[in-house]
C-alpha cells in the first residue's frame, strides 16, 4: 500500500509542476531580449575603451556596428502583447490531470513489478533460518575455500550441499578436491560418480562408471557403487546383470537400510520381482531422477497421488505438503506445485507457526510469491 501511496504523491507532484505556471495569469515576465544584449555590448565598448584595450577609432567602428544591430533588433521585437488563451490553458491542464497519470500507469504497469519487495543484501543476511541461509552458507564456504583451497574437510562438507542445490558440475569439482586432499575412500568415489551421473542428467557415463568401479574396488560392499553399477548395466541393456547386482546388494543389505525400497523398485523394473512400493521419501524422489523417463513417472506418480490424497484428508502435515510440492517440482509440473502450495497455505492458514514453517520451506523450493 505504501508503494501506491508514494506513486500517488509523485504523480501529484508531477501534475502540480505542469499546473503551477498555468495558474499564473499574464503577469509581467522578466525575460531577456536581444535589445538588452546589444545595450550591454555598447556599455562593454565604453569599458574596454576606458581600460585602454581598444583604440578610439576601433571603438567608434564597433559602436556604429552594434547600434545598427540594436536598431534592427528593436524593429523586429514582437509588437503584439502577450496574449492569454484560456481555452488552451484548460486543455493543457486537462492533459496534465488526466494524461499524465494515464501515461504513467499505462507505461509502468506492463514493465514494473509493484508486488516485489526490495531485497537488499543486509536483509538477506538477516533472514537466517530459511533456505536462503543455506545458500548464504554455501557462498561463505566457497569464499573460504577460494582462499584455502587445501581444506579437505571444507570440500567434504560443501560437495553434498552442492548436489542438493543442483550445482552438479561444481559438486564434481568439489568431490575431486575432496579426494585430493582427504585421500581415497569408496564413499567419496561413489559420491563423485553419482555427481557425474547427475550432471549428465542421470545417465551413468563411462566416466561415472569408472568412479563406481574404483569405489567397488576399494570396498566391494559399497551400496551406492553397487546400485549405480547395476543402473549402468541396466542402461547398457544388460538387464540380467543389473538384476544380479541388485539382488546381491539386497541380500547383503541390513533390513533397515534406507535405500532398500529403491533397490527393490529397480529390481522390479528389470524383472527381478518381489518389489514392494516404498513410501515416498526424499531419497526415492531424488534417486528416481536417475531412472529412465517412463519408469520414473509411473513410479513417482503413483506415490505422489497417494500422498496428495492423504494430505487432502489431513492437512496439518507441513512436511508432507513440502514433500508433495517438491515431488511436483521434480516431476517438472510447476503448475501442480503452485496449486499444491496454495492448498497447503489454506490448510495451515489457522496455525501461524506452521504457516511460517511452510512459507520458509516453499521459499527454499523457490516458490515464494
Amino acid at each position: 500500500m505504501t508503494l501506491w501511496f508514494v506513486f500517488a504523491l509523485m504523480t501529484v507532484a508531477a501534475i502540480f509542476a505542469v499546473l503551477l505556471p498555468l495558474g499564473r495569469s499574464g503577469r509581467a515576465q522578466n525575460q531577456g531580449s536581444e535589445v538588452a544584449v546589444y545595450k550591454d555590448q555598447l556599455a562593454e565598448i565604453e569599458r574596454d575603451l576606458a581600460a585602454g584595450l581598444i583604440a578610439a577609432p576601433e571603438a567608434e567602428a564597433a559602436r556604429v556596428e552594434i547600434s545598427r544591430r540594436l536598431l534592427a533588433a528593436a524593429g523586429s521585437e514582437p509588437a503584439s502583447e502577450p496574449t492569454s488563451s484560456l481555452k488552451w490553458r484548460r486543455a493543457a491542464a486537462v492533459l496534465a490531470l488526466a494524461g499524465l497519470p494515464l501515461i504513467a500507469i499505462s507505461v509502468y504497469m506492463p514493465l514494473g513489478s509493484p508486488r516485489l519487495q526490495d531485497f537488499p543484501l543486509a536483509q538477506r543476511e538477516r533472514g537466517a533460518g530459511s533456505g536462503m541461509a543455506l545458500e548464504n552458507l554455501v557462498v561463505q564456504v566457497e569464499q573460504h575455500l577460494e582462499k584455502n583451497p587445501t581444506d579437505g574437510r571444507g570440500w567434504n562438507v560443501l560437495a553434498p550441499v552442492l548436489v542438493r542445490l543442483g550445482r552438479f558440475d561444481d559438486a564434481v569439482r568439489a568431490y575431486r578436491n575432496s579426494l585430493t586432499y582427504n585421500g581415497e575412500s569408496s564413499e567419496r568415489r561413489a559420491d563423485l560418480g553419482e555427481a557425474i551421473a547427475a550432471a549428465a542428467g542421470g545417465v551413468v557415463t563411462a566416466e561415472a562408471k569408472t568412479e563406481f568401479e574404483r569405489a567397488h574396488g576399494l570396498n566391494a560392499d559399497d551400496p551406492k557403487a553397487n546400485y549405480f553399477l547395476g543402473l549402468a548395466a541396466e542402461q547398457d541393456g544388460r538387464k540380467d546383470d543389473a538384476a544380479n547386482i541388485w539382488r546381491a546388494l539386497l541380500a547383503k543389505a541390513p533390513a533397515d537400510a534406507p535405500w532398500r525400497p529403491l533397490v527393490q523398485t529397480s529390481l522390479a523394473r528389470v524383472g527381478g520381482g518381489g518389489a514392494t512400493m516404498p513410501a515416498l521419501s526424499d531419497e526415492t524422489v531424488a534417486a528416481s531422477k536417475d531412472m529412465n523417463e517412463g519408469d520414473r513417472n509411473a513410479m513417482v506418480r503413483g506415490m505422489v497421488e497417494r500422498l496428495a490424497t492423504r494430505l487432502k484428508q489431513n492437512g496439518d502435515d507441513v512436511e508432507g505438503w513440502l514433500r508433495l510440492v517438491r515431488a511436483y517440482l521434480v516431476m517438472g509440473d510447476r503448475d501442480k506445485a503452485m496449486g499444491a502450495s496454495t492448498d497447503a497455505r489454506q490448510a495451515v492458514a489457522n496455525d501461524a507457526a506452521r504457516l511460517r514453517q511452510l512459507n520458509e520451506g516453499l521459499k527454499t523450493l523457490g516458490l515464494d510469491g
Binding site: 506513486f7 505542469v18 499574464g26 581600460a51 584595450l53 488563451s85
Partner: protein, 659 residues
C-alpha cells in the same frame, strides 16, 4: 520500494517530457506566457524525477539488491563501495540512465538560469530538449530498463567487468556524457532558432556558455579516457584510433569548430547559417557515437550492448533527429538574414580557416570510422588504423596548428597578415632554435619529430606573444602592463591557455611516439632490466587477497646510476566471479616522463613476462587538454559581453560576403 519508485519516477519523467515537448510550442504559437512557462516547471520537475530515479538505482547498487536484474548482472556484494557506485554506469542500462539524467540536468539548468532568454526562445529550446529526452526515456524503458526485477533474487551478483573496476570509471563516463549531452543544448538552440526563423548575435551570446561547458567536459572526458586506457590496458598506448575513441573525437572536433564560429557570430554577426549547421552536426555526431557504442556494430570494452533491438531503436532515434534537423535546416536556412562582412585576411577569415580544417579533419575521422564498418557489412574485413590517420589527419592538424598563433592576433573585419607575422617573429625564432637543439641533441628517430616539436613551441610562443601584445609587455611601463593584464577579458586569457595547451599536447605526443623505449622479456627473481638509463631489479613475486580478487604483485627496485629511486609494484588481478584478469601497471613519474611496468603471464618456473616502457614527456599529452579545459573555464567565468571591435577601413577595400 526503492526499485519500483525509481522505475515509476522514470515513467513520470517520460510523461512530463511528452507534455514539455508539446505544450510550450502551442504557447509560443499563441504567444501565451503561461503555456510557454510550462516548459520551465516541467523541465525542473523532469530533472527532479530523473534524478530520483538515478539515485534510486545508485542506492540499489550500494545495497546490493540483486532482486534488480541490472544490479545482479553488474555488481557483487564484496565489491568496494566506490565501484558499487561507479558500477551504476559501468553497464549499458545504468549508463543510459546517467545519460538522460545529465540531459535532464542541462534542461533544468536552462530552465533555472535562462532568465536572460526571450520567453519564446526558451520555450522552443526546452521543447526540443524534451523531444530528445522523450526519445531516450522511451528507449530506456522499452529496450534497456535498469529496473527490471528478478522474482527469486540470487544470493550473489555477477560482478562488474574487472577492467572497469577502476577509479577511471568514476570520472571518465560522467565527464564524457556531460560533453556529449551538453551539445544537445546548442542543438536545441539551433532548432529553436530555425523554428522561430530568427537568429542573430544575441543568439550566439546565449548559446556560448552551454557550448563551452560541453566542450570543457568533452575535452577532459577524452583526455581522462585516454589516460585510463594508457594505464589500465597494460600496453602503454594512449590512443588507438578505435571507433569508440573516434566517436568521441568527432564531436570534439565539430564542437571546437562550433565554439570558434559562434565567436564570429557573437562578435560580428557573421557565419550564422554555418554556426547553426555546426550545432546540428556536433550533436548528431554525439548521437552517432552513442549509436556506435551501443548498437553492437563494433566490439570493444565500451560496447556493452549487443542487442540488435537496441541498435535498431537508436538508429531510429538517430535518423529521426539528424534527418529531421537537417531537413528543417535545408528548409529554413535560406530565410535567415546574412550578417556582417569581412575581408579574407581578418580574424573572421582565420576562424573560417580554423573551421574548414576542423571540419575536414572531422570528416576524415568519420570516413575512417564508418568505412571499415561499411566494408564489413559487405564482407570485406579491413581495418583503418594509425597509418591512414597519419597520412590524412596529421597533416591537416599540422596546418591548423601553424595557423593557430596567427588567428588571435589578426584584427576583426580586416587584418594585416604581414604585421602579425612580424609580431610572431619571436615565437618563430624560438621554434627554430628548439628545432635545431632537438636535432643536434638526438640525431635519431624521425626527421619530422624536431619539426613537430618546433611547431608545438611555435603554438605556445604564439599564445604568449598574443598575451604580451595585448598587455603591452616590454613595450609599455610595467605598471601599465599589469593594469591592462587585469583589464584583459578572461576569455582572452582562456584562449591563450587553450592554444598553448594544444602545443603542449603536441610536444608530448611527438616525444612519446618518437623516443619511447621498451623492454619486453621474461624475468626471474633478481634479474635486472636496463631501460633508458634506469635499472629495474625484480625483487620477487607475492600473492595478495583483495576484496573481490586475488592478485599477484611483482616488486621492482628502480635505480639510476646505482642510486635507488623507488619501488614499483605492478600486479595482475584475478577476478573469480567473472573468471577474468586485469593487469595493473605500475607508473613512476619523473617530471613529465614516466616509467611504466606491466606484467604478462607467469611461467611454471617462477619467471614472469614483463613489459617495461620509458615514456619521455608522456604526461604532456594530458596536461595539454587539462590546460585547454582550464582555458575554457576561464573563458566561461567571463560573464562580460563580447564585442569584436572591427578595424575601421583605411583605404577602399573590397569586402567579401560572410558566407
Amino acid at each position: 520500494m526503492i526499485a519500483e519508485s525509481g522505475h515509476y519516477a522514470l515513467v513520470l519523467a517520460l510523461g512530463l517530457a511528452l507534455i514539455q515537448s508539446i505544450v510550450p510550442l502551442i504557447g509560443a504559437r499563441l504567444r501565451d506566457a503561461a503555456l510557454m512557462n510550462v516548459a520551465r516547471s516541467a523541465a525542473l520537475a523532469q530533472l527532479l524525477f530523473v534524478g530520483a530515479s538515478f539515485i534510486a538505482l545508485v542506492m540499489l547498487h550500494v545495497n546490493s539488491d540483486f532482486s534488480v536484474a541490472n544490479v545482479y548482472e553488474n555488481s557483487h556484494s564484496m565489491k568496494p563501495l566506490i565501484y558499487k557506485i561507479t558500477g551504476v554506469w559501468g553497464n549499458h542500462e545504468g549508463s543510459m540512465l546517467l545519460w538522460v539524467s545529465i540531459l535532464a540536468s542541462f534542461g533544468g539548468m536552462v530552465a533555472a538560469f535562462g532568465n536572460n532568454l526571450p520567453l519564446s526562445l526558451r520555450a522552443h529550446v526546452l521543447a526540443v530538449q524534451a523531444w530528445i529526452a522523450s526519445a531516450f526515456y522511451l528507449f530506456i524503458l522499452v529496450t534497456s530498463n535498469p529496473f527490471l526485477r528478478i522474482a527469486n533474487p540470487p544470493i550473489e551478483g555477477r560482478d562488474l567487468n574487472p577492467v572497469l573496476q577502476d577509479i577511471g570509471l568514476a570520472v571518465h563516463p560522467p565527464m564524457l556524457y556531460l560533453g556529449y549531452v551538453g551539445f544537445s543544448i546548442s542543438f536545441s538552440f539551433a532548432i529553436a532558432a530555425l523554428m522561430e526563423g530568427r537568429i542573430d548575435a544575441a543568439w550566439a551570446r546565449w548559446v556560448r556558455p552551454w557550448t563551452l561547458v560541453a566542450w570543457i567536459f568533452l575535452t577532459l572526458g577524452i583526455a581522462m579516457g585516454s589516460y585510463w586506457a594508457y594505464y589500465e590496458l597494460g600496453w602503454g598506448g594512449w590512443w588507438f584510433w578505435d571507433p569508440v575513441e573516434n566517436a568521441s573525437l568527432m564531436p570534439w572536433l565539430a564542437g571546437t569548430a562550433l565554439l570558434h564560429s559562434a565567436l564570429v557570430m557573437e562578435k560580428r554577426n557573421a557565419l550564422k547559417v554555418w554556426t547553426i549547421l555546426l550545432s546540428i552536426l556536433t550533436f548528431s555526431l554525439s548521437l552517432l557515437g552513442t549509436f556506435l557504442v551501443r548498437s553492437g556494430v563494433i566490439t570493444s570494452v565500451h560496447a556493452f550492448a549487443t542487442d540488435p533491438t537496441r541498435g535498431v531503436f537508436i538508429l531510429l532515434i538517430l535518423c529521426l533527429f539528424i534527418g529531421g534537423s537537417l531537413s528543417l535546416f535545408a528548409g529554413r536556412a535560406t530565410s535567415l538574414k546574412q550578417g556582417g562582412l569581412f575581408a579574407p585576411i581578418s580574424r573572421e577569415g582565420a576562424l573560417v580557416l580554423n573551421n574548414l580544417l576542423l571540419s575536414v579533419a572531422c570528416a576524415v575521422v568519420l570516413f575512417g570510422t564508418l568505412y571499415p564498418l561499411a566494408m564489413e557489412a559487405l564482407d570485406f574485413k579491413m581495418s583503418v588504423g594509425a597509418p591512414f590517420y597519419n597520412l590524412t589527419f596529421v597533416p591537416l592538424f599540422a596546418l591548423l596548428l601553424l595557423a593557430v598563433p596567427l588567428g588571435p592576433m589578426l584584427a576583426w573585419k580586416r587584418g594585416d597578415l604581414l604585421g602579425v607575422t612580424q609580431r610572431l617573429l619571436a615565437a618563430g625564432v624560438a621554434a627554430l632554435v628548439v628545432i635545431a637543439i632537438v636535432w643536434a641533441w638526438t640525431r635519431g628517430g624521425s626527421a619530422l619529430a624536431p619539426l613537430a616539436i618546433g611547431l608545438g613551441v611555435f603554438v605556445i610562443g604564439g599564445a604568449m606573444t598574443d598575451l604580451s601584445e595585448r598587455t603591452g609587455l616590454f613595450r609599455l611601463p610595467f605598471a601599465t602592463t599589469l593594469h591592462r593584464a587585469r583589464g584583459l577579458p578572461r576569455s582572452a586569457w582562456g584562449a591563450a591557455f587553450a592554444h598553448a595547451g594544444l602545443g603542449i599536447a603536441l610536444i608530448g605526443i611527438v616525444c612519446e611516439t618518437t623516443w619511447n623505449s621498451e623492454y619486453i622479456a621474461t624475468m626471474k627473481q633478481n634479474d635486472v632490466a636496463h631501460v633508458a638509463g634506469y635499472d629495474l631489479k625484480l625483487d620477487g613475486l607475492s600473492q595478495r587477497q583483495g576484496p573481490n580478487f586475488r592478485e599477484m604483485i611483482a616488486e621492482f627496485n628502480v635505480s639510476r646510476d646505482g642510486e635507488k629511486i623507488s619501488v614499483m609494484t605492478p600486479s595482475k588481478r584475478n577476478f573469480t566471479t567473472r573468471g577474468s584478469s586485469t593487469t595493473e601497471a605500475a607508473l613512476l613519474t619523473r617530471g613529465a616522463s614516466q616509467l611504466y611496468v606491466s606484467l604478462g603471464d607467469a611461467t611454471a618456473d617462477g619467471a614472469i613476462a614483463v613489459r617495461i616502457y620509458h615514456k619521455p614527456l608522456v604526461l604532456l599529452i594530458w596536461w595539454g587538454p587539462v590546460l585547454m579545459a582550464f582555458g575554457g573555464m576561464l573563458s566561461l567565468s567571463d560573464r562580460r559581453l563580447r564585442v569584436g571591435a572591427p578595424k575601421p577601413a583605411r583605404a577602399k577595400q573590397r569586402l567579401q560576403p560572410a558566407e
